[in-house]
C-alpha cells in the first residue's frame, strides 16, 4: 500500500508541489490575518489616542473659558460696578435708623456658601479608560495569559490565609 502511494506521487509530482504550495498559502494567510488584526487594533488605538488628546485639549480650553467667564462675570458684578449701577437707578444707601426688623419664627438664616463639598472618605479612583481599550493586542494577550492568572492565583492564596484581598474586578467606580 505504501509502495503504491510513493509510486503514485512519483508519477504525479504536482501533487507534492500542490501540498507545499497549500502549506505555504496557509501560513501566509495566517500571518496576513494576524497582521491585519494587529494593524486594525493598532490603527483604532492610535485614532482613539489622538481623539483622547484632542478631547483633553478641548477640556483644557473649556476650563480656561470657564475661568475667563467667571472673571468677566465678577468684573461686571463687582462692588464698584454694582454701586455705580445702583446710583444710576437713583437707589440710595439704607439709613440704619429706618431699618425695620421682622420676627420670623423658625427662620434659619442662610449659611455662608461653600465653594466645594467637604472631604469625605477617599473615593476609590479608577481610570476613565479601562486597559482593554488602551492596551495593544500583544499587551492584552500578555495581561490575559501571564498577569491576570497570576493575580487570581495570589488572590486565592491570600484568601486561604484568611486575609482579605479583593480581585481587580471587585473595584467599583
Amino acid at each position: 500500500m505504501k509502495k503504491n502511494l510513493v509510486q503514485a506521487y512519483k508519477q504525479a509530482p504536482w501533487r507534492t508541489q500542490i501540498q507545499w504550495i497549500g502549506i505555504f498559502l496557509l501560513v501566509l494567510i495566517g500571518v496576513a490575518v494576524v497582521a491585519g488584526v494587529y494593524l486594525m487594533i493598532s490603527g483604532r488605538a492610535a485614532a482613539t489616542g489622538r481623539r483622547i488628546q484632542s478631547l483633553e485639549a478641548e477640556i483644557s480650553a473649556l476650563e480656561m473659558e470657564i475661568n475667563d467667564l467667571k472673571t468677566q462675570y465678577a468684573q461686571v458684578s463687582s462692588a464698584k460696578s454694582l454701586s455705580e449701577r445702583a446710583e444710576a437707578l437713583n437707589m440710595t444707601l439704607l439709613d440704619p435708623l429706618k431699618a425695620m426688623y421682622i420676627e420670623v419664627p423658625g427662620y434659619v438664616p442662610p449659611s455662608q456658601p461653600a465653594l466645594a463639598p467637604p472631604p469625605t472618605v477617599e473615593d476609590i479612583s479608577t481610570p476613565v479608560l479601562l486597559p482593554e481599550f488602551t492596551a495593544s493586542l500583544w499587551d492584552w494577550l500578555r495581561l490575559q495569559v501571564f498577569i491576570e492568572p497570576n493575580l487570581s492565583a495570589e488572590s486565592t492564596e491570600s484568601n486561604d490565609t484568611g486575609l482579605i484581598s479583593p480581585s481587580p474586578t471587585e473595584v467599583t467606580p
Binding site: 488628546q53 467667571k70 465678577a74 463687582s78 429706618k98 421682622i102 419664627p105 427662620y107
Partner: protein
C-alpha cells in the same frame, strides 16, 4: 527535467536565504556600530515632546463666594518663521492689530530661521480676546477672498496665537492690601507679593509638571493631569470691606489725616471681617507698586506699621490690673495731676488733676497718671508678663505676607528705664501694629480668650473644601476680668456721651491719642488718633479699630477717630444683620429669628 526544476528551485532558495541572511547581518551590524547609540538618542527627540505644564493658579473668593482673584484668558501672539509665506501681509496685519511698528515686525517675519536665528518670535504675550477676534476675522476674509488667475491669495500663515491664563482681580483696588498681587507678567517664574498671594503662594501656584507627549500614534497615552492650585475663601465680606474702605477714605479726607487704618475683627473666631488701609494698589497694574509705595511706606499698614498707640493701650493695662487683683473696678485713686517716676514727671492729657476717681473714671477720663500708677503697682515683671501674654513680643502670625512688629523693650535690655513702665502703661514708649492691638483687645471682647487672627476661612484642594477652624492662642486674662472691663468701658462711653456711641447698641470702647516721637522729643501737635470698640457688649460680634495718622482737624482720638467708629458701626450692624439690643435681646428670650429689612 524534474531534476533540473528541483535544482533551480534549490538555487533560488539558497540565494534568497543568503540575501536574507546578509540583510539580517547588516541590520545587526548597523545596530551595533559606533554611531548607532547616537542615532537612537537623536531619534528619541523626534518621538515625543516634553512640555512643562503650569497649573492654573488657585482663585480667591470672599466669604460669600464672590471672586476676588481669578484667571482670565489672554493670548500669546508670535511668528512661526518656518511657516511664514507672505512676510509683508503678516507684518501688516500684526502691526496694525497689535499696534506695533510695521518695519520691526517685517524684519522679524523676513528672518530666516536657524543658524543662530530663532524659529519662533513672540510679538505680544498678553493679547486680549477682541484682538484675536480681529485676526480671525481677517484670516477668514482672506480665506473667502476670490482671486483671479495668477493672483496669489493673501494668508496669515506663520502668525500664531496660543491661549494662556492671566491673573485678574475683578474688584480692582478693593481689599488689595489683603490680597497682595501676583507678578503675572513673568509667565514662568511669577510669584505672589504681600497679602494672601504671598502667604499662600506655594499652595495657590500648584506643582508644575513636565509632561511627555508621544508623536507616534501607537505610543499615545492620556496626558498626565496637572491639578490646579489651591483655591482659598477669605473671611471678609466684600460689601463690608467696600463700606469700610469708603469710610476710611472719607475719614482721611474729612480729618486731613496723612494716612489711616480700620480693622473690623470677629473676636469670637479671630476672622478679619474687613481691613482697610490707604493707599491701595490696583493689583491688575502691580507695576505701579513702587510709585504708590515709595520706601519705606508699607503695603499694608494694618500689619506692618508700628506706632505708639496712646490711650487705647490703657485697656490692656487695666485688664492686667484687674486680672492680677491689684485693683478692682471700684478701687479709687487720688489723681493729683502728676506722678514722678524715675526722675520723669507724668501728666494727664489736660495737665490737670481729677481728684478721687474709681477705675471706670480713670478709663472714662483717660488719666495717664492713674494708669501709670497702676503700672507701677503691677511692677515690671507682672506688667510685661501680661504684655507678652497679649502677644506684643511677637508677630500675630496672621496669614498675610509682610507682617512685622517692633521688639518689646524689657527690663534688663539696656534700653529700658523705670519710666518706660509708667509710659508704657498708657501706650507711650511702646510700638505696636494695629493687628497686634486688635488681637490683644479681642481677648477682652471674647471672655479672655485670644484668637489667632486670620483671613483664610477655607481652602479647596482637589475639589474638596477644608474649613479653617478658629485657634485660641492664649488666655491672657480670665473671663471675669474680661466681663468686668467690658462693663467698665460700656459705662465710661455712656457716661461721657462719647462720639463713638451708636443709638440702640451697647458698645464698649476706648479712645486713644498717641503723641509722635520726633528727633526733638514728643510733640502733641501731630498725633496718632485711634479708637477701639466692640459690640454688642453682652455678646460681641465685631471689634473695630480705627487709627488715623496725624489728623489736622483735631489731635484728639475722641474727636477724630470716635466719630468714624460710630459712623462705621452704624452701617456695619446693618450689613452684619445685627438688630438693635432691644430687638436682639427679645429675640434671644423668644428664641425667634429676626430678618432685617427696610
Amino acid at each position: 527535467m524534474r531534476t533540473t526544476n528541483w535544482n533551480r528551485f534549490f538555487i533560488i532558495c539558497v540565494l534568497a536565504s543568503v540575501i536574507a541572511g546578509m540583510a539580517g547581518i547588516q541590520l545587526i551590524r548597523i545596530q551595533n556600530i559606533e554611531g548607532a547609540k547616537q542615532i537612537l538618542a537623536d531619534s528619541e527627540a523626534y518621538q515625543g515632546i516634553n512640555r512643562m505644564i503650569y497649573p492654573e493658579r488657585g482663585s480667591i473668593y470672599d466669604s460669600d463666594g464672590r471672586l476676588l482673584a481669578g484667571n482670565e484668558v489672554v493670548y500669546e501672539v508670535g511668528l512661526d518663521l518656518q511657516a511664514i509665506q507672505q512676510p509683508e501681509t503678516v507684518a501688516s496685519v500684526a502691526s496694525s492689530v497689535l499696534g506695533l511698528d510695521y518695519s520691526r515686525v517685517l524684519g522679524y517675519a523676513q528672518m530666516t530661521p536657524g543658524n543662530g536665528n530663532p524659529y519662533f518670535i513672540v510679538l505680544d504675550g498678553f493679547v486680549s480676546k477682541d484682538k484675536i477676534a480681529q485676526f480671525e476675522s481677517i484670516k477668514e476674509d482672506y480665506a473667502n477672498r476670490s482671486t483671479k488667475r495668477g493672483e496669489v491669495r493673501p494668508n496669515l500663515l506663520g502668525l500664531v496665537w496660543t491661549a494662556n491664563n492671566k491673573r485678574s482681580y475683578p474688584e480692582g483696588t478693593l481689599a488689595s492690601n489683603m490680597l497682595g498681587f501676583y507678578s503675572f507678567l513673568d509667565r514662568t517664574d511669577g510669584i505672589g507679593y504681600f497679602g494672601v498671594e504671598e502667604a499662600y503662594d506655594d499652595l495657590m501656584a500648584g506643582e508644575p509638571k513636565l509632561v511627555y507627549s508621544a508623536i507616534d500614534p501607537n505610543l499615545l497615552t492620556s496626558l498626565e493631569e496637572v491639578p490646579p492650585g489651591v483655591t482659598v475663601q477669605l473671611t471678609f465680606n466684600r460689601e463690608i470691606q467696600a463700606m469700610t474702605e469708603k469710610k476710611l477714605d472719607e475719614a482721611i479726607e474729612w480729618s486731613g489725616a496723612e494716612n489711616g487704618t480700620i480693622i473690623v475683627y470677629n473676636p469670637e473666631t479671630g476672622e478679619i471681617i474687613a481691613m482697610a488701609t490707604a493707599p491701595r494698589l490696583d493689583p491688575n497694574e502691580y507695576w505701579n507698586y513702587s510709585e504708590l509705595f515709595p520706601n519705606p511706606k508699607p503695603f499694608n499698614s494694618a500689619i506692618s506699621s508700628t506706632y505708639e498707640p496712646g490711650s487705647v493701650f490703657k485697656v490692656l493695662t487695666m485688664a492686667a490690673g484687674l486680672d492680677s487683683g491689684v485693683v478692682t473696678a471700684n478701687t479709687t485713686f487720688n489723681d493729683t495731676g502728676s506722678l514722678n517716676v524715675g526722675g520723669a514727671t507724668i501728666y494727664n492729657w489736660n495737665m490737670g488733676g481729677w481728684g478721687e476717681v474709681d477705675m471706670t473714671g480713670c478709663m472714662q477720663h483717660s488719666l495717664n497718671v492713674c494708669l501709670a500708677w497702676l503700672g507701677m503697682e503691677l511692677g515690671p515683671d507682672r506688667f510685661y508678663s501680661y504684655m507678652k501674654s497679649f502677644g506684643f513680643d511677637r508677630n500675630t502670625g496672621i496669614d498675610l505676607g509682610g507682617e512685622s512688629h517692633w521688639p518689646l523693650k524689657l527690663p534688663g535690655d539696656g534700653l529700658w528705664y523705670e519710666v518706660d513702665l509708667a509710659t508704657n502703661s498708657f501706650g507711650q514708649g511702646i510700638s505696636v501694629t494695629p493687628i497686634q492691638m486688635v488681637t490683644a483687645i479681642g481677648a477682652i471682647a471674647n471672655d479672655g480668650k485670644m484668637m489667632a487672627p486670620h483671613v483664610v476661612k477655607a481652602m479647596v484642594i482637589d475639589g474638596k473644601q477644608y474649613n479653617i477652624d478658629p485657634v485660641v492662642v492664649g488666655t491672657p486674662v480670665s473671663a471675669e476680668t474680661a466681663h468686668t472691663l467690658t462693663t467698665m468701658l460700656v459705662n465710661s462711653l455712656e457716661n461721657e456721651a462719647s462720639n463713638a456711641l451708636v443709638e440702640g447698641y451697647s458698645l464698649a470702647g476706648k479712645t486713644g491719642t498717641g503723641e509722635i516721637a520726633t528727633p526733638l522729643g514728643y510733640t502733641n501737635s501731630s498725633t496718632n488718633a485711634s479708637f477701639v470698640g466692640w459690640g454688642p457688649a453682652d455678646d460681641p460680634k465685631f471689634l473695630v479699630y480705627v487709627w488715623l495718622e496725624k489728623p489736622e482737624i483735631s489731635i484728639w482720638g475722641s474727636e477724630v477717630a470716635a466719630p468714624v467708629f460710630s459712623d462705621l458701626v452704624s452701617d456695619l450692624v446693618v450689613l452684619m444683620n445685627i438688630p438693635p439690643d432691644s430687638i436682639r435681646l427679645a429675640e434671644k428670650s423668644d428664641n425667634t429669628s429676626i430678618v432685617g429689612t427696610e
